[in-house]
Symmetry: C2
């Protein structure tokens, strides 16, 4: 069996590594000839909107998935006529549009930050009245890793912010005061079975995920609320594959921030920290296979390597540290790898994080993880 992944980044790469033992071959399609999945999977080099190439690619494969959300939904729709596309184009289209996404959260009775849609300049005035400030203006489409959003301190700055975002359709959201950021990775099988990984805690820096602690320390009630939300989203969309939902923890209540219709950076810890990784479970779901156990064994801290890699050889001296080099060249702001430190319990993990902070030049990055475990 062959699964075609539109996109050839690190997510496709990790899918390919997880698919191989299942007897499933991942093929990737990416416009970049040096897309990093190409090192472990056959790579078709083509633009994401090159319909002829996409069809040729689909012909090679038994099912199609994608590793990022800015794939063309109409193109996926076309492919869906000839091959199963999982998750389906509706799921992608919903996640691509912050307006549709918020409407979905509202429909399934999940709390979101107060918001208003600004599709046209005429809607600015009404939005400025209906949404409390400080707020964030986000483009409805093509946002990721903090891109396509601007903080707006008060109503007088809204028009300028809208112009700076290119007059694109936007969502204006009240800035939520949260204690922490949590996310849930879930997977839904072709037969409708849903499994959830434990809720995890994330730390973002400059809008980019810096670290994940798994599992998060949460009440059973909070965990149940997050799972209920994921379950309803997945069912509403007839979703197949891995799905991630980011939440804010606001005084012990969950407020949904956004969803990602794919394997997610906050699920990377599952490669070593869970019985079945998110990548294997995504491949299992897309291939129509039964899902694997999503339970964590022990506790984990995933550290993203952004811009460049720290010293690998020093890192590997840390017990329980698992290294992930994506095979990408260094570039400011680019996710070039990650490490997951696993441990049987929180006190051991704390000790290992201290060791990591000693040997790596990433003290500032590791400090918030240490603070959370103290």
């Amino acid at each position: 069996m062959r699964i075609g992944v539109i996109g050839g980044g690190q997510l496709a790469r990790m899918m390919a590594l997880a698919a191989s033992p299942l007897g499933i071959r991942v093929h990737a399609l990416d416009p970049a000839v040096d897309a990093c999945a190409g090192e472990v999977a056959p790579l078709e080099v083509a633009a994401f909107d090159d319909l002829i190439a996409l069809h040729r690619f689909a012909d090679l494969c038994n099912a199609i998935t994608f590793d990022f959300e800015n794939v063309s939904a109409p193109a996926l729709n076309e492919l869906a006529a000839v091959r199963p596309v999982r998750p389906n184009p509706l799921s992608l289209a919903t996640a691509q549009d912050r307006g549709a996404e918020k409407a979905l959260f509202a429909r399934i009775e999940t709390a979101v930050a107060p918001f208003a849609i600004i599709d046209q300049p005429q809607q600015i005035a009404a939005a400025a009245v209906s949404v409390a400030f400080p707020a964030i203006l986000k483009t409805r489409r093509f946002g990721y890793d903090g891109k396509g959003q601007i903080n707006v301190a008060d109503a007088s700055l809204l028009e300028d912010a809208y112009t700076r975002l290119g007059n694109a359709p936007c969502v204006l959201e009240t800035r939520v005061h949260f204690q922490r950021e949590l996310s849930l990775v879930a997977v839904r099988a072709l037969d409708g079975e849903i499994r959830c990984y434990p809720l995890v805690e994330n730390v973002h820096v400059n809008g980019i995920l810096s670290l994940t602690l798994a599992p998060a320390e949460v009440t059973p009630l909070l965990a149940a609320a997050a799972e209920r939300c994921a379950r309803r989203v997945a069912e509403a969309l007839d979703y197949v594959g891995v799905l991630a939902i980011e939440f804010f923890d606001v005084d012990g209540q969950l407020v949904a921030n956004e969803m990602a219709p794919r394997v997610h950076n906050s699920g990377h810890w599952s490669i070593e920290g869970a019985v079945t990784s998110q990548f294997e479970n995504h491949i299992r779901a897309v291939a129509g296979l039964p899902l694997g156990d999503t339970a964590a064994h022990g506790v984990s801290c995933m550290l993203n390597w952004i811009g460049d890699l720290p010293d690998r050889n020093r890192a590997l001296t840390v017990p329980g540290l698992h290294w992930h080099d994506y095979g990408k060249s260094a570039r400011a702001g680019r996710k070039v790898g990650h490490a997951t430190i696993t441990a049987p319990d929180r006190s051991t993990l704390l000790r290992r994080l201290h060791q990591a902070a000693e040997v790596l030049d990433r003290q500032a990055q590791i400090a918030p993880a240490i603070a959370r475990l103290l």
Copy 2:
């Protein structure tokens, strides 16, 4: 960094999958154009004794290792002049020759079955006197998976057995009455550090490994004896990489059977059952990196799929079951894949083995594992 693996079978394949996250690329060399490592690593198709191809291959790589022991030791010696070969050719040569292997075990004061060398027909009579029967006659070289050996019930049958083995240099061993078969996988780093995986219990059928239970239930004394043996072997050979030693448990005493100078089938459970897999640790050692933690988390049972694969989709319904398809075509006696069932404790593992026996047509294979856990 590139590591060249001579041999392109499932061991090279699993090395390649383990190397990728470390930022290390495995290249494989194999005479078979469809060698299964070729699906995940660049494959150089050449005969193992094609010195020109081997040199070209070595030029591509920073270090050389191998995935089976019937590589030509003189050829490796030549490559060792231009690239680090790990483990070194002496280690390979020792493991290739049951005579040299037994001499090494004797030198490091590890018990072996009483034996005699028969390099020439003239030595048969003396061997028949010095070794108690029933015995096993084994060729000194090129044996694996029960090949190249014949049971010899009494002295009168020895000459015939020797003829049937082609008058090749042989070792005649007294047949050991053992309670169980154990093995130890160890890894030695370039700086001399040695780490051992827990001792495991193996069940062979027709000379081929059928299943491994990890860890074995053994006394600390037995575990220490096995580790001492592995440590001494590795130090005596200035070994670098993963090394496996098979033992018989004879009334609570270890008798060494043989060593394998490579990652070993009885270590496959470590992919999911240990903090760091044998494949990653072998790559780390060959690359000169620090070793990873060899501790097990929970308990595991590895089941070899020999000849053909059972039904994957049914297998994946078993909780904690991890599937490994090597991408090889079915053929009698061929190792085409394995599955490792992991569990937090022995009673859960027992339950999962019962489930596996229910859904797969491998009851006879699974029964000995169940019997050992009862």
